[in-house]
Amino acid sequence: MTTTAMFRVCPRTGLQFHKSAETLIKLNAVAAVVALLVGGVLALLITLTRWQAIHLVNAENFYLYLTAHGLDMLAVWIIFFEIAVLYFCSSTLLRCRLATPRLAWLAFALMAIGTITFNAAVFTGNATVMFTSYVPLPGHPAFYLGLILFAVGALIGCFIFLGTLVVAKAEKTYEGSIPLVTFGALTACIIAIFTIASGAIILIPTFLWSVGYVKTIDPLMYRTIWWAFGHSSQQINVSAHVAVWYAIAAIVFGAKPMSERVSRTAFVLYICFLQLASAHHLLSDPGLSVEWKVFNTSYAMYLAVLASMIHGLTVPGSIEVAQRAKGLNKGLFEWLRKAPWGNPVFSGMIISLFGFGFLGGISGVMMGTEQLNMLIHNTIYVPGHFHATVVIGTTLAFMALTYFLLPTLFNREVILPGLAKWQPYLFGGGMAVFCLAMMGAGTLGVPRRHWDITFAGTALPYEFPGSAILMMAIMGAAGVVAIVGGAIYVGITVGTLLIGKKLDAGTYSSTRTVLKMPSGAALAGHGGHGGGFAAPGTFVFALVFLGAFVLYYFVNWKYLSTVWGLS
């Protein structure tokens, strides 16, 4: 097998691509972008409907589009891209062949067929059940079947990643331990396997229920197991985009992890504790004990939050150390001021990092607190939170990575570089305002997944305060800005693939190149200096973050203390 494997070395980055892996990375990435395009069009229709003054589509279509938007974005776009990231982090970074490329084709086919199947069920109006498809709300069997096929395909992709790690180890394509980024991808893969197993455990019986072989599915059992799939799949994203942050810090700045030990331990904390967070969705449910809720919602004493707070420091910290080593040493922030803000690979990544931490992280911990959850459960605060984590965090990180992959993987020069420069700001900025407006509206009680908060035509309507309606309008406008940013991304990506200037791809050969470490690397093996205070600027940001976190957390306890007594 090794002798027939074909490799090329990218002349610009020195990365080595195995031909089968390269094709499959491209294929999965392109499928992801197609899903993003579909999901983006739906996003526009949804946001313009919830903007009460425009109220674009009718109720039936609104709920249908919302179901499709959730699936095509949260499942299809992100997971296809993650499979591409997994293949890249194994085959490319470890400079080895991809294990069982034929099975990888099968995985791709299953995911594609699954996607088409559940989309067909949704768009024919037979499965307007939302992303969560809570039983006993009935969906067409094809809906569940499509999801199962998609999940099986993704599971095969995960095992190909693991297989590729084994190949690399057996064929000795690297020395020592796997790179930190690959370790992060491995974390994502392990969480993915757990997640998909949970999905299978609940979706298979639900499929059988939808065709009549199973009589009832208990709604609380469904919620408990479904969220082990639904929430954990967001944890795959967290692990994957943190790995991408580390990768981009390394690619753009040559940044070394401040400490391999700290960063890897933080990833291990993810593996151990992130999945417990499915309890976040069950805090306002009946039938679960307080102890169960408190232990699980806090990821066993917030140890996964600790991990995210560590990554939030070490990624920019490693950039600071690398920049200071280049002489950008003035004051606390010269390293950041003189960062390449015009390079979308960097700007996308840093906006992703700050947006994920400040907006997604703080709001997530607040709403994941057992008692505080009652204030926002099922309000539009919830999508406000997860658009900050999954859109600003994951999607923007993937977009940033794309600007790096286009020349090195697809060998095309990115078209419209002037526009690409602005894209992360437009998308990230629009999304940030969008999320804040949603959180504001949610705090005022505006429900999520709701077609008409004016309750027109009902006998006992409730009138939301004007500020809530205003928040929804701001959300709509900012949503449109973000969608324009997303459209520019899709336009640049597709345009580059079709008409971008071709770059030298290097030639394929059957020999693998060995990676030559720079001779100095062995001496200065890490970014941190051990015992020093290497990243003071980043530390200041961390303290600002903590201040915001503490303040916001206790403001919400104060708010809770004023509502009706509940016991």
């Binding site: 809570y134 609380l220 700290v262 005022l444 980043t538």
Partner: protein
């Protein structure tokens, strides 16, 4: 480009850790513990804790209990559908039905008094959302959730559904009075 390369030092786990990282980890860990202990603390000293008193229930059974309450305590009806407005005594068991796409019956409570509110759904999952108070509780079919509520302000409140329950979801809204 070292995060995407194997660690340059084979024995990377012995590399000393920078002070910035150690101090931050310590601070973050303390904060995590504070957040964790806030939840049990509030159970001991706070006044807003969601009860977990839950029973399995059949829709007919719950509907019967609700009907008994309505027969006993109805003071008037409202809207064209003549939805009964129920004024139960303080401390009473109050039954609220969530179904496609209405809340039944309507409640009139007294400020400062406690009531045992029983919630269940007749068909699909629903969401109890009390506005503008902003208290939100999941309502599941087959489960009877008993929550003791103590209204602390007089006024007219809305109960809306905030769990998607089909095409009429946005029409599922009712009122609750506190005197």
């Amino acid at each position: 480009m070292s995060a995407i390369l194997p660690p340059a030092r084979r024995v990377w786990w012995k590399q000393p850790i920078d002070k910035v990282e150690i101090i931050w980890i310590a601070i973050a860990f303390i904060w995590c513990m504070v957040m964790f202990f806030m939840m049990p603390y509030w159970h001991l000293y706070g006044k807003q804790n969601l009860s977990n008193e839950t029973y399995r229930v059949k829709p007919e059974q719950f509907a019967r209990a609700a009907q008994e309450m309505v027969d006993k305590y109805t003071v008037r009806t409202e809207t064209d559908e003549k939805i009964p407005v129920v004024q139960p005594p303080a401390g009473a068991d109050v039954f609220l039905i969530a179904r496609l796409w209405a809340w039944w019956p309507m409640l009139e409570l007294e400020k400062g008094k406690s009531y045992r509110l029983h919630l269940t759904a007749m068909d699909y999952q629903h969401g109890f959302s009390l506005q503008p108070e902003n208290i939100n509780i999941q309502v599941l079919p087959g489960y009877e959730h008993v929550v003791t509520i103590t209204p602390n302000r007089a006024g007219t409140y809305a109960i809306m559904c905030n769990e998607y329950c089909g095409i009429g979801h946005h029409k599922m809204v009712s009122k609750l009075y506190v005197k």
